[in-house]
């Protein structure tokens, strides 16, 4: 791995490391990647045209914070810590789906998710995607709220309900990628 030259903003890196939990080498590597993506500017510009409710530009600190959600949990942690990590990751996912940030995932937002997911696989049409989203919504309602009276109104999936339906999936171990200690930016375009 060769020699490791001293980082430009050592102090800044240290605070970031404490905040996000990455090691100093990993932060250095991610910073290189960030510079590569942003073409050596300070922030990443958001290119999406119809993006509502999202920021226009992302600084390195925000970039790192997002990445820190994808770290694997440490091997020896208590049940409480595991639950906390799980909540944080699921909160991240929840916010991804809840595009207008009102605290619930409405049917429209859910449909959008399913359509995006399936249309990229390229096989199913809009009606089927809608049907799937509707069925999923029904399922959430029946699991979390139980049988509802005929005039009750199901608003959308709240965060607590979201936690409940994804109880069976081990998010804390599945939602991670391997952050290497080696600089691979030279290998990638």
């Amino acid at each position: 791995m060769g020699s490791f030259q001293s980082l430009p903003d050592d102090h800044q890196y240290r605070t970031l490391s404490q905040k996000t939990g990455f090691s100093l080498e990993q932060i250095g590597i991610l910073h290189n990647r960030f510079k590569q993506l942003s073409q050596n500017e300070d922030t990443l510009r958001n290119f999406q045209k119809d993006a509502t409710g999202s920021v226009q530009e992302i600084g390195f600190e925000e970039f790192l914070t997002v990445m820190s959600y994808f770290r694997a949990p440490a091997h020896q942690i208590t049940e409480e810590q595991r639950e906390e990590i799980r909540r944080a990751k699921l909160r991240f996912l929840f916010n991804m789906h809840d595009t207008d940030n009102d605290g619930t995932i409405t049917l429209e937002e859910y449909r959008h998710v399913v359509e995006e997911l399936l249309s990229r696989s390229g096989a199913l049409g809009r009606e089927t995607a809608k049907g799937i989203a509707d069925a999923a919504m029904l399922e959430v309602a029946s699991i979390t709220v139980g049988p509802m009276a005929p005039d009750e109104f199901y608003e959308g999936i709240t965060f607590e309900q979201f936690l409940k339906i994804l109880k069976g999936v081990e998010i804390e171990t599945r939602m991670h990628i391997r952050f290497l200690n080696m600089d691979t930016t030279v290998l990638c375009k």
């Binding site: 990647r33 997911l117 096989a123 049907g131 509707d134 699991i143 999936v169 990628i177």
Partner: protein
């Protein structure tokens, strides 16, 4: 058992040879005549298979036995009984012919395993599996060989004649985990997917190591001395055998995939291509002493996605059922013959040697697993706990492959053949009986995680799929090519590789219509538990499709979108009586999603 009486039949009939007609000049036209010689061989083969199948029936009809004792044990015991009976009758019990075993009995089992191998868990753990298979088997073989040699030298007496090379040869025979035995036992304990694929994958992939070591040491024993160059050649041989086997399998796999594109007009013989190409892959690999098992697995794995995109639904069902049937019968026959051969074979019992072998087997397995896991856990995300390690070590069963290899040893070059054979049989019996019977209560006792019984709900499906995409994206952003990146690339290439545009539209239609295909595919991996296919025929297909359309219409009607504008919340009704139908619909939708998952 009246069933066993069936066995006397060929012996009795065999003694009535064809009656000669030319005793008198005036021959009466023979109304009835007996000519058993004519049909002897196929008759006896069919009789054996029939016995095996009827035994299988009987085994499952007696509820208490199947809960406690794994099927393999019962079959071996039956084999022992049958062998004993034949011996009592004065005949020579047939021994498990190695030729028959390797060419006819083993391939169906391996093909069944390879064709329905769950690819995702296999690929996710391929590093671990390879480590256990290669390094674990090497370690076991050498440890056992050297330790046995040392012990034999110390023991003196009649064991002094056992030299190092023979011991190493013996070690290589007895150290390989056997796929047949593992399948038979693990099948019934429903352990979680990770452990299952670890032990099972190891048993499949260690064939290359076993083949190389076996031939290497046999050659050395024959020659009597070994040089450093030979050792180096041995290492080269290992790579040639394993990679060569996989390549042969891949070639035949692609040939099968290519052939299946043109079978649109001759649907009836589609399954035949699958079987024949796979068998040819196995035989071709065996010609060059490459690893036939790896060839067969590679062929099945490569061929499957393409073939299944091209063949009809009925052909898929045929392939699945035939493979299960053949592998089931093969397995039963193998265990019965193992029992019979035990009675038949020449035995040379030596307390020291046999008990040493047994003890060293267990010891080497435990040490190997613990040591390797220590190294492997440094590279794994999901670490293997102590319980996992115990199950992996305990699940290392030996079986018929070890027996056949021992049987193949030629008596001249290896003077200890009988001794080895006896020891191998003892080890097999011990692992299958003791370990096979106790693994189920141990699994319950240790509260090892069992297989996830129910399928994912629609929401879980959606979110896990979403997660996959997300992780691929994040990996891309971070700029390193990780696991998700390669999976995604592979899936994209699969899509663009072989299917033309019209074909794609056709497939889309087929996918929509054949929902049950996805459901069966997941459950295919567990043998003997083929679910009653309630919706197998076309009539139910259209009914299901109509139901689904109706369902969609009603749901879209009743679930209106709550508007984002706070001024006019439109009221929506959630009809509770739709819940039941919605469950069914959501199950079918979940399957559609799974279809695109892998």
């Amino acid at each position: 058992m009246p069933v066993v009486a069936l066995f006397f039949l060929p012996l009795l009939i065999g003694s009535c040879r064809g009656i000669d007609h030319n005793e008198t000049d005036q021959r009466v036209f023979p109304v009835i005549s007996i000519n058993y010689q004519h049909v002897q061989m196929p008759f006896e083969i069919s009789l054996w298979i029939l016995l095996a199948s009827i035994l299988k029936l009987g085994f499952h009809l007696v509820p208490h036995v199947s809960a406690v004792v794994p099927e393999s044990c019962v079959l071996i015991v039956v084999g022992l009984l049958v062998g004993g009976l034949i011996r009592v009758l004065g005949e020579d019990p047939p021994v498990l012919d190695s030729q028959l075993f390797f060419l006819c009995l083993l391939p169906p089992i391996i093909l069944d395993a390879g064709y329905f191998l769950p690819i995702r868990p296999f690929m996710e753990n391929v590093g671990t599996i390879l480590t256990f298979a290669v390094l674990g088997t090497l370690w076991s073989a050498f440890f056992m060989g050297v330790a046995l040699y040392g012990a034999c030298q110390l023991e003196g007496a009649e064991l002094a004649g056992v030299d190092l090379l023979s011991c190493l040869l013996f070690g290589s025979i007895v150290s390989a985990v056997d796929p047949v035995a593992v399948l038979a036992v693990f099948q019934e304990i429903h352990i979680n997917e990770l452990l299952h694929i670890l032990v099972f994958g190891e048993s499949l992939l260690n064939d290359a190591v076993t083949v190389v070591l076996y031939h290497l040491f046999e050659e050395f024993v024959h020659r009597g001395e070994v040089t450093a160059g030979d050792v180096f050649l041995g290492v080269v041989c290992f790579f040639v055998v394993s990679v060569g086997g996989v390549l042969v399998g891949c070639v035949y796999g692609f040939l099968a995939a290519f052939t299946s594109r043109f079978t649109a007009h001759t649907r009836v013989i589609e399954p035949l291509f699958v079987f024949l190409y796979s068998y040819m892959a196995y035989l071709s690999a065996e010609v060059f002493h490459l690893s036939g098992i790896m060839a067969l697995i590679a062929c099945g794995v490569v061929m499957r996605p393409y073939v299944e995109a091209n063949i009809s639904h009925k052909s898929y069902t045929t392939i699945k059922y035939f493979l299960k049937m053949w592998s089931s019968v093969s397995e039963t026959l193998i265990f019965i013959f193992l029992g019979v051969s035990t009675v038949a074979g020449p035995h040379a019992w030596n307390w020291t040697f046999v008990s040493l072998t047994l003890a060293l087997c267990l010891l080497s397995r435990v040490l190997g697993v613990v040591g390797l896991t220590f190294i492997i856990n440094k590279y794994r995300m999901v670490k293997l706990s102590g319980k996992d390690q115990f199950i992996v070590a305990y699940g290392g069963l030996r079986g018929a492959i070890a027996f056949s290899l021992a049987f193949l040893l030629s008596s001249e070059s290896c003077a200890m053949k009988d001794l080895f054979l006896t020891a191998v049989i003892t080890v097999i019996f011990f692992t299958v009986f003791v370990q096979g019977m106790t693994i189920r209560p141990l699994v319950d006792l240790l509260a090892v995680k069992k297989k996830k019984q129910s399928k994912f709900s629609v929401n879980e499906e959606i979110h896990t799929q979403f997660l996959e995409h997300l992780l691929t994206g994040i990996e891309d952003v971070c700029g390193h090519y990780g696991h998700h990146h390669w999976r995604d690339k592979h899936q994209r290439s699969k899509r663009t590789l072989n299917i033309s545009k019209e074909r794609e539209a056709e497939i889309r239609k087929m996918l929509r219509a054949n929902l049950q295909k996805t459901r069966q595919r997941l459950r295919s991996y567990s043998r003997h538990t083929l679910l009653p296919d309630a919706e197998e025929d076309d009539w139910s297909e259209t009914r299901l499709r109509k139901q689904r359309m109706e369902m969609e219409r009603r749901m879209s009607h009743f679930l209106t979108v709550p508007a984002n504008r706070p001024e006019s919340p439109r009221r929506a009704r959630l009809q509770t009586d739709l819940d039941g139908r919605a469950q069914k619909a959501s199950v079918t939708f979940a399957e559609e999603l799974e279809e695109h998952r892998d």
